[in-house]
């Protein structure tokens, strides 16, 4: 068992970095250096945590680095962190994505404020993933809204104000349900134990409740997480927001914050309220499948590359939801892996789209033709990311989608069949978009576009490496996820999750 200090450091380093970045704001470019150094330190810390992480901690099951300090007893408020295989992967994703976003999507307009918000967002996202307490998770979950709001509203495109407001209000209203649900669960637990009010994960998971209560609570939790993920039909904020946010913002939103939704669904809705799963499963499976097909269908016709990735994300989040609620272990492992892979892949997409936008001033498909000629390396990189997203065997996307679909077929055949359609559609819209943007004869501005610079290639290198390595050798990652998923399932199984 390791000290919780490591996780606390993961939370504090970005905050300190943000403060320093704000303090050195006077000097041009200095804050950017601070931010990159901070993100690198964060990455190093994450690597240390990954190496130290021990799957088999006696007593605490697969949770390591646990520590709990009560902050305000009357509110049941505590600082409580712990890390298992699932959180570990999300923490790794957070560090990676932030570093890449800083390196690959530098925004020089009022840079100190920009990087400070980005670093704060990192800390809050980390907090959500390592929180081992429902209330603490909720607070971090809500906190992520503030940096996002400022990043979108100040550095976004023309419709940024509307996008920021829409994003904030949707998520805020969604989390109202989570808030009430969390309070209800906390008090239900307190009334049972006659002890102090607490929202600790372990304590709450022991709460007994009727089936009806569990269903209501699950619904309340699911609404909040469905908005964040997004799951159809609560996704309507996402295309506008992804398209209007600055590149770094789009990366953060789609690669990281969307995962907060699915992570919450897995950890808190399924994990704490397994009793409701048999009732809620058909609903969520159906919504997930609709999301897959709807997202893919719209992605086929959308005129804008960023929106295309947004709708493609909707489809991918559908796959993740499918994997989480089917209840088969293999699909759940696949879903967790896809959370990571999708994060890496979308980060790659948005980075490349950002590079194109920076050169051509537009990410509209119609404005771009034949980029393959002037920018072959960029086209190649896009191809790798795209093929991973389509699910080409040998690349990372394949492994996770395959696991999810195996699990789905074993437990819920027809949903699995419909979900598979999404894989076909993904090939259609991505290849078609690729054809229109990269094939053909480049003229005018398109022909004059420069290829990916050395720096840009280096930023994309880790993404390509991860896509390939996790495609052929996902074992080490799966070894860390599986025991944690197993543990979650064991808690869930008595309620009839496994078929």
């Amino acid at each position: 068992m390791h000290s919780s200090l490591w996780l606390t450091l993961l939370l504090l380093v970005p905050v300190a970095g943000a403060l320093v970045a704000a303090l050195v704001a006077k000097r041009e470019g200095r804050s950017y250096v601070v931010a990159v150094v901070t993100a690198s330190v964060e990455m190093a810390l994450t690597l240390v945590v990954m190496v130290l992480y021990n799957n088999h901690v006696a007593g605490a099951q697969t949770f390591d680095f646990a520590g709990r300090f009560v902050l305000a007893a009357p509110f049941g408020l505590a600082y409580d962190v712990a890390l298992d295989g699932i959180s570990l992967l999300m923490v790794a994703l957070t560090s990676l994505v932030v570093l890449l976003a800083l390196l690959g999507a530098r925004d020089r307009r009022r840079e100190p404020a920009f990087v400070a918000w980005l670093l704060l967002l990192t800390s809050f996202t980390m907090g959500s993933f390592v929180a081992h307490d429902l209330l603490e998770f909720f607070i971090f979950f809500e906190l992520t809204l503030i940096p996002c709001y400022f990043i979108i509203s100040q550095w976004g495109a023309a419709q940024r104000s509307r996008a920021a407001l829409k994003f904030f209000i949707y998520t805020f209203a969604g989390s109202a349900f989570l808030f009430v649900g969390a309070l209800y669960l906390g008090f239900a637990h307190q009334h049972q134990t006659q002890g102090a009010l607490t929202f600790a994960y372990g304590a709450l998971s022991a709460t007994t409740m009727t089936h009806g209560t569990a269903v209501w609570l699950f619904s309340a939790f699911a609404i909040a997480f469905a908005v964040k993920s997004p799951i159809w039909p609560l996704h309507t904020w996402s295309p506008l927001t992804y398209a209007e946010a600055p590149t770094a913002g789009s990366i953060e939103l789609s690669a990281l914050l969307a995962k907060l939704g699915s992570y919450g669904l897995l950890r808190f809705a399924v994990g704490l309220l397994p009793l409701a799963l048999p009732t809620m499963r058909p609903v969520l499976l159906t919504l997930a499948v609709i999301g897959i097909i709807y997202g893919s269908a719209i992605a086929c016709v959308t005129p804008d590359l960023k929106r295309l990735v947004a709708y493609s994300s909707l489809a991918q989040m559908g796959f993740i939801t499918l994997g989480i609620v089917t209840g088969s272990k293999i699909a759940m492992v696949g879903a967790v892996l896809l959370m990571f892979n999708h994060g890496v892949i979308t980060a790659g997409f948005f980075l490349i789209i950002g590079f194109i936008e920076r050169r051509r001033g537009s990410a509209t498909i119609r404005d771009l033709t034949g980029l393959q000629g002037p920018a072959p390396v960029m086209a190649a990189l896009f191809t790798v990311v795209m093929l991973a997203s389509i699910g080409l065997p040998g690349l990372s996307g394949f492994v996770s989608e395959y696991l999810i679909l195996i699990g789905a077929f074993a437990t819920h055949v027809w949903w699995g069949v419909l979900g598979t359609l999404g894989v076909v559609l993904a090939a259609l819209y991505l290849l078609w978009a690729y054809q229109r943007v990269f094939h053909g004869r480049a003229e005018g501005d398109d022909a004059a576009m420069t290829d990916a610079s050395t720096g840009e290639r280096w930023v994309l290198a880790p993404i390509v490496v991860l896509i390939v390595v996790l495609g052929v050798f996902p074992r080490p990652v799966l070894d860390r996820i599986t025991p944690s998923v197993q543990q979650l399932i064991e808690h869930v199984t008595p309620a009839g999750v496994n078929k």
Binding site: A73, P74, L77, I139, L143, A164, F172, A176, V180, L183
Partner: protein, 490 residues
Amino acid sequence: MTLHVPSIHYLAILPVVILFGASLALLLLTALLGSKVTARVATSVTTLASLAAFAATFAQWSYVAQHGATTTIAHAIVLDGFSVVATAVVAVSLFLATLVAHDWSLRERVVGAEYQILALASAAGAVMMTQANDLIVVFLGLEILSIGLYVLVAFDRHRSTSAEAALKYFLLGGFASAIFAYGAALVYGATGSTNLTSVSYFLGSNVLLRPGLLYAGGALLLVGFAFKVAAVPFHLWSPDVYEGAPTPVTGFMASIVKVGAFAALVRVLISSLGTQLATWRPILWVLVALTTLVGASLALVQRNAKRMLAYSSINHAGFMLLGIWAGTTRGTAATLFYVMTYAPIVVATFAVVTLVGGPGDENHAIENYRGLARRQPWLGGALAVLLLSQLGAPLTTGFYAKFAVLAAAVDTGAGVLALIALLAAAIAAFFYLRWVLALYADDDLEAARIVVPRATGAAIALGVGATLLFGLWPGPLAALAQHATVLFNP
């Protein structure tokens, strides 16, 4: 026939004595010395008095912690943990509001000490309300609080809206007081006493065969309070008065009226009519739902910062009522916590609005805030923090305030009501954020800088500091609210 003077526990009434004494002293000084009593002198006296009252609450607290709650002056005044904390909040609000009013009076060339005399008297009234254990004392406190405010609202003689607002406030406030007095009379008729403890005792040991008189009395009391805290549908006066009053007065009013009225409402509903919980709860349910929703929705269409804040404060009143709805110790503590955290925030918010309002107190359109945080990151950032706190964002006290009342409501089984309130908060988020968007807008970067005078700057800094500090670490305040309520005189 001899007149028995009831025993007086001087520590219990020390804050009232300090505040009212300072008010009278200033009044005398002005009468004797005339214009020699400058704004600086008046401000110094007021800040010192508020600090002294604040210090007195420490003595009171240690007394209550040792000896428990006590009543004095024929059981009409109570000294318990709840009153002590509420008194401290009034003192802090007065302190902050005085700092703001000082700079404002220099800017608007308001000479003389009248402003501070009235503010001190009003604060004394608010403290009296927090300590009242008798409907007559509640009424007295209410009137002392209100009469000072009527005049303060009309203080800006250059603007006709100020006088108009004062007249409106006076007429409706007068009605509210009359309704309250009538309610008190009916309760007396039903129970034979105006003393809150006696009423509670009477209702606990007797069954009213014909409770109509009591219900009517209770309802009228509730209406009186609802007017004062501007709960929907008794809120109509508040946007006009908030807009018309001089801005520092609005901030002062928004804070101390809430503290005084809610403290008294808790006493009347929880400790006096606690046995009638089942009767007043459904009414309060509707009040909470209406107040939160209407307050948030109507704020959406406002273009004037002060009107928007008026509706925002209506929305907050709904949340404070939610804690009372719960009717439990947790709920009472939650409402107290809400008031404690809300008061400094609202004073500081109106302090920024005062500065932006500029000479003549006129620039209150949201457009006047465009780009403020870009030109002046500290001032604009402070307002952004205050607005986010009112919104209920985590890491600010506003979040825990909402958390506390919602927790109390959910604990009592009002999941639906909590959800309604929270969705209202989501609606409210819209206009707070729109304001924040304006603060960080790109344009108007060349507009004139707003000079931040030292005293007002200090008030804003204190408000923001408290919000962030206790937002990060709400433990002490939460424990204080809880202890205060445990030491509540039943």
